[in-house]
Symmetry: C2
Subunit: 176 residues, 2 copies
């Protein structure tokens, strides 16, 4: 059975919506998702980088992220035909571990928690596919990288792209 | 550069010493490490299995474990010649995440935390070697498994065994 490793933030968890909500509330601004095409918020508003990091250090940041559209249904189906792991880069914000674990148990209760991986470098991941929004993980990954579309990676080329979970469904299940 | 994945409990962290201390104090017993040859404490005292699990659910359990003899010096040296990762099965006790992370930062400050992996099944680990005391991780591991001697695995055969960190040093560095 082929193995698929799936990232969390911006792939199954809607990190940007929460970040923008907090940011706009704190700084009385109205930054929109569209403003972040090709960049992260910390590049768009570098003067507030420290505050943005502070948001992420608060464990509660990760407790109530929305689930990305269709991810639950599609991953439930993928899980019947593939060996599905969740692989999240969590070492930058170790305070987020428990919140991330609880979020996964709440929204993806059909996944086995023995297949959750909290890591840093994803070169350590042994899988056939890695679905991730962050290209920094791809050069060291030995399987097939699949770039999950997020505002910040809109201009990235050179990787097979998956724009949303309906497309992921086609990619993996049309051949089954 | 070859990659070595190293387990935590019973390999670099002296889990049994702490467990016996707590157990003996709680139940007014005097169980010794020698009593655990070929078995874990939960098999030796199955009637107290629930209490033993409770010990591990308390995050503080993992905060003050002793470091296994010579592990710091040897791993510091290995880290110069190999790509060293710490891969610990943490999903059974998610409350332990932060304590385990802090313990690693305290006792192995020379390791990059981007190379810490908290996982369940270690089949997901992509490394050339896995040093672990628990054989259950070996069948799915695609590299070379190395069994780190612990009381509970004394009778296990069929794997290359490393009895202590001085032996690990010889195994990996004599050829360098």
């Amino acid at each position: 059975m082929e193995r698929i490793a799936i990232d969390m933030d911006e792939v199954i968890a809607d990190y940007i919506a929460k970040q923008l909500l907090l940011y706009n509330k704190t700084f009385h601004e109205n930054v929109k998702v569209e403003d972040l095409t090709g960049q992260k918020l910390r590049h768009y508003r570098p003067e507030h980088k420290e505050k943005l990091i502070e948001f992420l250090k608060d464990p509660s940041f990760f407790t109530d992220l929305d689930v990305m559209p269709d991810s639950q249904e599609v991953i439930r189906e993928l899980n019947r035909h593939y060996d599905v792991y969740i692989t999240t880069a969590a070492m930058e914000y170790p305070t987020s571990f428990t919140a991330k674990y609880n979020w996964l148990k709440e929204h993806f209760p059909f996944l086995d928690d023995q297949k959750f991986v909290f890591c840093g470098n994803k070169g350590i991941i042994h899988a056939d596919y890695l679905i991730d929004d962050n290209v920094k993980h791809f050069p060291d990954f030995t399987g097939t990288p699949l770039l999950f579309t997020a505002p910040h990676n809109m201009h990235v080329t050179g990787y097979t792209r998956i724009n949303n979970w309906k497309e992921a469904r086609s990619f993996f299940l049309d051949k089954k």
